[in-house]
């Protein structure tokens, strides 16, 4: 006999053995992402320049993370990656960009500004216990 907690989405029977996993809100038999740390920082980057920063962690693995940023405090964009040693704005994006990459000690951020005026970045991140270990 197994024990656990299952919460179904509205309109689905949590006691049904045929309940598809995608229609569950929570199932204690399944793994979920667990947040290690979260936070935000603000940084101004002047025209044509970049800023590099990082958040240290002690996970001993390269962790999953999700990073969002905004330059107008209204529209948030997903931070993706770019070259570590070139001007790393995302292809087809002609405004400020935030790249993120990870290793077993830090989560790195690279903020770039290819525009003709300063940009005030607000970067929010969530780092998870899950990663490549």
């Amino acid at each position: 006999m197994s024990y656990g907690i299952v919460v179904s989405k509205a309109g689905y029977d949590a006691t049904s053995g045929a309940l598809d996993d995608k229609n569950k809100i929570f199932d204690s038999s399944l793994d979920h992402l667990k947040t290690y740390s979260s936070g935000y920082f603000e940084q101004t980057v002047t025209s044509g320049n970049s800023y590099s920063g990082y958040v240290a962690h002690s996970l001993s693995c390269s962790p999953l993370c999700m990073v969002y940023f905004t330059t107008d405090e209204t529209n948030y964009r997903v931070a993706l990656s770019g070259s570590p040693d070139a001007f790393p704005y995302r292809y087809s994006v002609g405004y400020g960009n935030v790249s993120v990459y990870v290793d077993d000690a830090k989560v790195y951020f690279r903020l770039t500004n290819p525009t003709g005026s300063s940009i005030d970045f607000l970067v929010k991140y969530e780092i998870f216990y899950e990663g490549d270990a």
Binding site: L80, D85, V102
Partner: protein
């Protein structure tokens, strides 16, 4: 009367109306892990990972960056979150993930060298459907 499960953070009241006060609130679906692991691409920088869910799931993929310097490719120690597609002066760098009903196709490398060599990465595929 609404029913559900809530778990508060330390020092927070269960009756709080602030969502950030909770580790879990069953009114809000959590991403459920379907599969995860590490991988190494083939020498072409390609990797297919089968999930067999029968629908398009949410995925997260991190992979090493394949750069280009002094007429040769190099691979970073760090892992970069897919997707990227970046044009340099003479080379385009890419790390992309295409998500299908039953698998995901990962491609990483640069356009100066088709055989970019084996690249390491890791992935999480969730049971939650992209709708």
């Amino acid at each position: 009367m609404a029913k559900g499960i809530k778990i508060t953070k330390s020092g927070k009241d269960i009756s709080s109306s602030t969502l950030d006060d909770f580790y879990m609130d069953s009114a809000y679906p959590l991403l459920k892990v379907h599969s995860y692991g590490t991988f190494e691409t083939g020498v072409t920088g390609l990797k297919t990972i089968t999930h067999s869910l029968g629908y398009i799931p949410y995925v997260l993929v991190f992979v090493q960056f394949v750069g280009w310097v002094d007429a040769a490719s190099y691979i970073t120690d760090e892992f970069y979150q897919c997707d990227w597609l970046q044009e340099g002066a003479t080379v385009t760098y890419f790390g992309t993930v295409k998500v299908y009903d039953d698998d995901i196709d990962i491609a990483v490398g640069n356009t100066n060298e088709a055989r970019s060599g084996a690249v390491d990465g890791f992935y999480y595929i969730f049971k939650d459907e992209v709708t």
